[in-house]
Symmetry: C2
Subunit: 340 residues, 2 copies
């Protein structure tokens, strides 16, 4: 199973909106269709968005037909603008864009820039895969034999195009021979836990149980959870972390019950330009995602709903942040400045 695959002149992705009941692959050869795939969550997960954004920009510039560098740069900014406008919260998207901007700024002629952007997109992807592997190794050291681990949303291969972050840590601990059980929160509204994390765990044969988001605190209070691990969409300079809606609640409940709460993410998720989580933009998606589930209406007609896609977990609830460059604990400020 390859979640994201570069095919030289197009990118192939596994359509995550069709999982778990259908495995449909899409081949995307232009940047507008890649932007749409990100908006529609056919590809999702902050690191995977960063990877696909790189390919999207690389593909976009190939089709710019001009010998004028000025015109080329203008059209490059159009491509970047479309990709940047897809989703506001994931840092990795903007990390990729910043990186591609630097490549273009340092480039010579148009042909060389076009070639360099493809090479850099491939490198962003392969470095992401490596980062997953390393952070999973680091994180697995925190997992003991016979742990029951609670995780939220999907942070596996599907979310990164590599090995995974929080789910990578879980898989690595199991590969090390540890006996692991996973409690998977379904992750309303879009059910990435129920649809995607279960699908990945089923393939690995790691035992799991699905619960609703509202059950997580109860199982913690019954002392049935040894640690909580989640991913991140953006980490501010003080360690405050934006992640899937519901993460903040899990962190508070973990602290109340004396359970370690870990965030696992590559350093491309860290945003040193933001002093705290208050500055992280939170995506608001369509209320229909709340009032409907898999197309079925669950509320009276005309019901208004709120749909913030992420929330902010203040650093003081986070036991450790696991990255490919090591594991950090409070105070996060200094550590994040060194590794990011």
């Amino acid at each position: 199973m390859k979640v994201v695959e570069w095919l030289g002149d197009r990118v192939r992705i596994l359509d995550q909106t069709k999982l778990p009941h259908e495995e449909v692959y899409l081949e995307l050869s232009d940047y507008p269709s890649i932007a749409s795939a990100i908006v529609e969550l056919k590809i999702r997960g902050a690191p995977a968005i960063g990877v696909v954004a790189g390919y999207g920009i690389a593909l976009g510039v190939q089709k710019i037909e001009t010998s004028s560098k000025e015109e080329f740069l203008e059209k490059f900014q159009d491509v970047v603008g479309t990709i940047a406008a897809t989703r506001p919260t994931a840092r990795n998207l903007f990390w990729t864009i910043d990186w591609m901007q630097k490549v273009v700024a340092g480039g010579q002629d148009i042909g060389q820039i076009k070639q360099a952007l493809v090479e850099e997109a491939i490198k962003i992807h392969s470095e992401g895969v490596e980062a997953d592997e390393k952070l999973s190794q680091h994180g697995a050291g925190l997992i003991q034999d016979n742990f029951t681990i609670l995780t939220h949303c999907n942070t596996g291969a599907l979310a990164t195009g590599g090995y995974g972050t929080a789910l990578g840590v879980i898989k690595k601990a199991e590969e090390q021979g540890k006996n692991i059980k996973v409690l998977v929160t379904e992750t309303r509204p879009l059910l990435q836990g129920a649809r995607l994390t279960t699908w990945e765990l089923k393939k690995t044969n790691i035992p799991y149980r699905l619960i609703t988001d509202s059950m997580a605190g109860y199982f913690m209070s019954l002392e049935k959870v040894n640690c909580v691990i989640v991913g991140a969409d953006r980490i501010a300079a003080n360690g405050d972390t934006a992640n899937k809606i519901g993460t903040y609640s899990l962190a508070v409940l973990a602290k109340e019950n004396g359970i370690p709460f870990y965030v696992a993410a590559p350093t491309t998720t860290i945003d040193l330009s933001l002093a705290s989580g208050d500055e992280i933009p939170i995506e608001q998606r369509s209320p229909d995602e709340v009032t409907h589930i898999q197309g079925v209406s669950i509320a009276p007609e005309g019901t208004q709903a709120q749909n913030p896609t992420f929330d902010i977990t203040p650093y003081r609830y986070i036991t450790a942040i696991i990255t490919e460059r090591g594991i950090m604990q409070e105070p996060y400020g200094d550590g994040l400045r060194v590794i990011a």
Copy 2:
């Protein structure tokens, strides 16, 4: 709209599994069909279960054809056994059964007992309606103008066959002219918030917004919630409260954010025989309710799920318990003994 109506020789209920999209009424004239309606959640909510259980027992005994008191008592216990086996957590169900047992124990001839059980069932219902009204009056005093109130599951007329408990408090505050907004948690797995509370609020014209259960903590952290009010399925002698799964999490999150957390319930919900919440039996329902939503599969085939229907909120997270006999605060032990 009458959620539960006694028609002399049968009981009419609004089928809550069909809401919000269809309003279907069922007429039930024997106790097995009433027991099934409780098991299948066609009627639900602890106080409403207590009311319908009374009618079920009353209907059940009418059909006992014997002149032998001994045989009558045996068959009465069969009826009671069937009603008692429907759902384990709601105290009100067992309160009704205890009451009916006392009526039978104190009764003379079979004809008189049959008549008395009908009268008592009607009285349990009308006293429930009165209790709702009084506790809503008491509770409304805690609600200030311009409050945004977060509530979980459904605790309105649908849950009691009267005016409601937690939702009764909200409705009463609004009737008093207070400007109220409600944040309604959808309440997975069976979506009583999304399907039922919204349906009731829509009829009252109280403004509401639907959120997923996982969003509640986030809105509390944004200081967008002035208080949380929930109902109860059973309250132990120390104030520990069993209520819909997810209640414990809301209570912890409310405490963490300095938000009052109220439980509203009639005294028939109080169980002085249990020292603490550890002794309250928690119903485990079918995992299918988690892996499927409105009949649609949301997880890979073979996925195992957990489905505890209730959780326990320790008394220390509860700011006050609102009953028809007044509002109590910690320490709960003495107050509960006086009023229950």
